[in-house]
Symmetry: D2
Subunit: 178 residues, 4 copies
């Protein structure tokens, strides 16, 4: 198995859009697993990379995104996984963590060949990022209880697509290798 | 509406892989619609761009891909939509039509802001290409009876994802604007 | 002429590397011109985009880069062009402003087709960014007295390459159109 | 030293543009060295990748580019280095061998970490390709007597830039490691 990195996607979120309520409910369910993955990665010296949308603000920093998220509708969903000092932070402007970002370069620098994706939204940014990892020949794990969906059926389909067509490991967070 | 291009994906295919039988059956169903779209685009002077996988052969040309496909298991699925002289042809090495290809540059040169995707496989290359078009801010149409899937449920889910999350027009080929 | 943006490159700099002294001397010479361009762009509502290296710190923000630069060897070279609230800020990890950044996407969103490059280093990041703009079909202006070089001969050659081979306008800052 | 590949740039050329005469003269001088590098690479099982411009023809193949070049003004400059069966061939639409091409992906697949650039034009496609290799962290060799320039001064400056700022090995072709 190649060296892994844990990629935490779009968890700094003000939840102020349509469907946010539905999403937040699912985030709440998976939050302990996300947090646990981050703790494990930290203990095991696996690189942790937060990749977060700038939500159209092209002058934002990790600190500002965190503040905006804390002032949003569900600060409890943010507080638990606020990035610690030692994580890397990449800001994205569109859905995929690879599009218009230095993530691919950073992963190569770190000699990482396998990405473990956690965060939201399963059938959107997670799926799109998984695909972009797959075409770039990264091995892929997407712990199914550490990603949050909006729609049940599309979330399920996304997980099956990642497993069937992208060779992703979708074991539960407790079982996933880091 | 922005200027459109018709993008014909992976139709030059030797169908020599697992699931090929199942895929071919669905290709056969949608083939008349694919062909009709190509004819309409040709008549209406809409740019037609074939984008086809090189299937790991890094020295392949359009002609060779066509010949390989004609010698494959289902030449009848190839003959009907063999690229005419005046189409553009882009070779890809991975699933998305945008990854490692000049397609984005070519579309900008042609002043195209909207892509109509046809071909195969709905829940794989079509979905991945749709996503890559969407993050690049292209408008998107995916005529649902001019794309071929392997698995019914994943094909359906892919179409719903494109409609719900990528604002794609998924009207039947007969109704889609070019 | 297409709509322009002013791109301010690597001006937040702690100047703690080899050749920094030589570079700083040239930066000091061009600084009034850089500042004047920024003021003009601000008055004329031309988008201003700072693009700055993260110098290997993958968790940096505009604020941190500014603070680091202010604590560096030549704070006077930084203070004058510290980014104002209304500018956009893009962080890069490598030399070109386009590599691993959302700049291309941002320019398209802003409907910008022409970039005016200012900052440092003429024969490195400026040249590389000019090239990447040129292959992406952006029109190009590089005011020759608003970019700072390290080596006289390479700086000169870079300006001639941009003029001869990339159709760049290299008029003095006072004459360049925004 | 990482595993190398030999990248042969824009040698299939009809030489029907301004400055072509001047360029052809320099190509003629370096041609034996280019050919010798290709032969050495072939003997030593070093991957050989031709990357050639499509000169605006988006439906071109290696064979067509070769035919066009043979019918051009200087077929003698083409014949000697016509690609053999076992080389890989990548078509580009713009100056850099990396822009809008699968080259980066192909190099990764081949586990190549070092590129040896040969061909034309030193102060244009060679320089731009060198830069794009450098920002992607490839090691770089540019045998100075196996690349052809148009302008003496810009060609010289390009070689110095590659040596000084991109850590390129610019030893003569006879001495360069493959």
């Amino acid at each position: 198995m190649s060296k892994s990195a844990l990629v935490v996607i779009d968890m700094l979120n003000a939840y102020d859009f349509e469907d946010a309520e539905q999403l937040a409910e699912h985030v709440r369910e998976v939050l302990p697993n996300v947090k646990h993955l981050i703790d494990r990665a930290s203990e095991e010296d696996v690189p942790i990379i937060y990749v977060n949308d700038n939500y159209g603000d092209w002058n934002s920093s990790a600190d500002e995104l965190l503040e905006t998220a804390r002032r949003g509708r569900f600060p409890d969903l943010v507080e638990e996984i606020a990035p610690k000092e030692d994580v890397k932070f990449v800001i994205k402007g569109r859905h995929s963590v690879f599009y218009g970002t230095p993530l691919d370069h950073l992963l190569r620098e770190l000699d990482v060949g396998r990405v473990v994706l956690t965060g939201q939204v399963t059938e959107q940014c997670i799926l799109y990022s998984a695909l972009d990892a797959y075409v770039r020949d990264y091995e892929l794990a997407v712990p199914k209880d550490a990603v949050a969906h909006i729609h049940d059926d599309l979330g399920d389909a996304a997980l099956r697509m990642m497993e069937t067509n992208m060779s992703a490991d979708i074991a539960p967070a407790g079982d996933v290798e880091l």
